[in-house]
């Protein structure tokens, strides 16, 4: 599609006669319209995202409890955080959570999407697709309320269910490892549908002929998936893992409702610390400093991912 009519959009450039009659009137109209159309979004993003980012960085250099005047503190907040066991453990918890949650989410979603991609009646396929996607429309907070009962050590359905297989009751929410595992399970249960949908879309985008050609060359089963499907799916895998990681690093509702960060600090995440420091303890400077660190962490992880992806992502 070489668009030979593009000059028509810009009469001035294409046709001096038109330009002489109305010098740039249409272009001025276009620019005015663009400004009007962009204003709500750009102003909103500047006021509610760009300025607040700068604000967070500035605030992180102050001691401030909202009531008294802010006191300049330099890097004191950051130095205090470096020696604060709760903050350090929250970063560790968040990273541990991220690794397990993202890995599980991607593997489950990928396995289900590949399985669903096989031969089966169309109606059945759409039933499964809807089922896997359903938890995504529910609220993380209320789902966590439900899960708190299901994972109860004494009367929860989960322990009853694994008891059927002869497994002893697990202290899901009351032991350190159990609590983290539960937070991961509940999060993954709700979130895997997102990656699943991305993969279903990505698989649909792979031309059928490529698989047919691979089949002619003798590729079948897992080999077909490893050698053919995965490389073609790699752009989608990259998006799914970037979005998955960014979301996982911001986990809040599940640990807040399920465990309130406990037992001890074992499920306290970075965002929970931001919330507690700012809105429970009124230490706004410290909360901002934690926020800035989280931002840096997310940027760093994403940058590493894109760097790595250059070696693994194939575009058609």
């Amino acid at each position: 599609m070489t668009d030979t009519r593009i000059p028509a959009v810009r009469p001035r450039a294409a046709d001096p006669a038109v330009a002489a009659v109305r010098p740039g009137a249409r272009e001025r109209g276009t620019r005015l319209l663009a400004a009007l159309f962009l204003a709500p979004t750009v102003v909103g993003i500047v006021v509610f995202t760009v300025v607040p980012i700068i604000g967070s960085v500035v605030l992180s250099l102050f001691h401030w409890n909202v009531i008294d005047a802010p006191v300049f503190a330099g890097t004191a907040n950051y130095r205090e955080l470096a020696g604060d066991a709760t903050v350090l453990v929250s970063f560790r918890n968040t990273l541990v959570f991220m690794v397990f949650a993202v890995a599980a989410q991607l593997l489950i979603a990928l396995a289900l999407a590949l399985t669903l991609n096989g031969r089966m009646p169309a109606w059945l396929r759409s039933v499964f697709r809807s089922a896997f996607f359903f938890p995504l429309v529910l609220s993380a907070a209320s789902i966590s309320v439900v899960m708190k009962y299901l994972f109860n050590q004494d009367f929860g359905v989960v322990n009853w269910l694994i008891g059927l297989f002869g497994t002893a009751p697990v202290p899901w929410l009351t032991s350190e490892h159990g609590a983290m595992a539960t937070v991961v399970i509940v999060y993954v249960w709700q979130q895997f549908g997102f990656s699943f949908l991305l993969f279903v879309g990505g698989l649909n985008n792979i031309p059928k002929e490529i698989h047919e050609a691979a089949a002619l060359d003798g590729a079948t089963g897992p080999r077909k998936h490893l050698a053919v499907t995965l490389p073609l799916l790699s752009p989608t895998l990259l998006v799914a893992s970037v979005v998955g990681i960014i979301n996982a690093l911001q986990v809040f509702e599940q640990p807040y409702v399920l465990t309130d960060g406990g037992p001890g600090d074992s499920t306290r995440t970075v965002v929970m610390v931001i919330y507690e420091r700012a809105f429970e303890q009124l230490r706004f400077g410290e909360a901002s400093a934690v926020g800035v660190l989280l931002f840096v962490l997310i940027m760093a992880v994403t940058a590493v991912q894109f760097r790595l992806s250059r070696r693994f992502v194939h575009y058609q």
Binding site: A8, V9, R31, L38, P40, T41, V42, V43, I45, V47, F48, T49, V50, V51, P52, I53, G55, L59, T115, L116, G118, M120, L124, F133, F134, V137, L138, S139, A140, S142, V145, Y149, L150, F155, V157, W160, W189, F194, L197, L198, V200, G201, T220, G221, R223, V239, V243, I246, Q250, V257, V271, I274, Y275, A278, F279, A287, G291, L294, F295, T302
Partner: protein, 284 residues
């Protein structure tokens, strides 16, 4: 290429259609199980709520738990708040994303690229990093603990803008050019030619916004301090807190009530929702 292991693994790993369907069924049951349990437990009497094995069909069906919810929290008020907040945000996002997406896709102006880059970059900024300054901005303007304070900051949507830009880019250019040759100005071209075609794309933005903000917890938790401004997710968690002695069926009845609109959107808006999510991974 014909190592002996290959033929072995071929026999072992190629799942028949029945094995595949059976596996998917188990996974689907695990996925929907908690929801089914929630609904069925909310319909049991308090005495039966801890029964194991769980009764899928309640032995003594009862709506007592639902009466309990209405007694303990003002469900109508919470639902009204949630509806108001969610509907206005969805509408606002459709308008802002529709306009900005069109400008980025079809209009020429200076700084287009850097501005679009700015919008895309903000997709990466986590809400929690900006929440303290946003809270302070809202506090100085007197918007904390109001529904408006929840609504206005949610109007601009980077993802929605990106989505609508893609959507407009997918439309044929010839339509606008034909209209221009007929003498239509840039506003007329948008209003009469492209805007009507954008409805399905706007539906995606609206449904995504509805789903996200109906379930939103973090911002309401921080911004809304008095119970009269609570949204449903906040009310539910507080309902759970109220219940030192009560039954879990009441909490679960509350959960079911709050799920109803989300499920309605799932049924009606499944396709737009799915397309919105899928396009995030495919269209780049």
């Amino acid at each position: 290429m014909s190592r002996p292991t290959l033929s072995l693994s071929r026999a072992r790993y190629t799942l028949g259609p029945w094995a595949r369907i059976a596996g998917l069924t188990v996974c689907a049951l695990l996925t929907l199980g908690p929801v089914v349990w929630t609904v069925s437990t909310s319909l049991r009497t308090p005495a039966d709520s801890f029964d194991l094995p769980p009764q899928i069909i309640p032995a003594h069906p009862s709506s007592a738990a639902y009466h309990g919810v209405f007694e303990q929290i003002d469900v109508w008020l919470l639902a009204l708040n949630s509806t108001l907040v969610t509907a206005l945000i969805a509408l606002g996002q459709m308008i802002t994303a529709g306009l900005a997406g069109y400008a980025f896709a079809r209009l020429d102006f200076r700084f287009k690229k850097p501005l679009f880059g700015l919008v895309l970059a903000t997709m990466m900024v986590p809400l929690q990093v900006t929440i303290v300054p946003v809270f302070l901005v809202l506090k100085t303007t007197g918007l904390t603990d109001t529904l408006l304070g929840l609504i206005v900051p949610a109007f601009p949507t980077a993802f929605g803008t990106f989505l609508m830009r893609q959507y407009f880019l997918g439309m044929p250019k010839d339509l606008g050019e034909a209209a221009m040759l007929d003498g239509a100005g840039p506003w007329r071209i948008f209003r009469s030619v492209y805007a009507p075609l954008a409805r399905p794309g706007l539906a995606i933005v609206g449904v995504l916004a509805f789903n996200y903000h109906w379930n939103e917890f973090f911002r309401p938790l921080i911004l809304e301090t008095s119970g009269q401004n609570y949204t449903l997710p906040l009310g539910l968690v507080s309902l759970q807190g109220n219940l030192g002695t009560g039954s879990i069926s009441v909490v679960l009845a509350g959960v079911v009530l709050s799920m109803i609109p989300a499920v309605a959107v799932f049924v009606v808006g499944q396709r737009p929702l799915r397309e919105g999510i899928t396009s995030a991974g495919v269209n780049r």
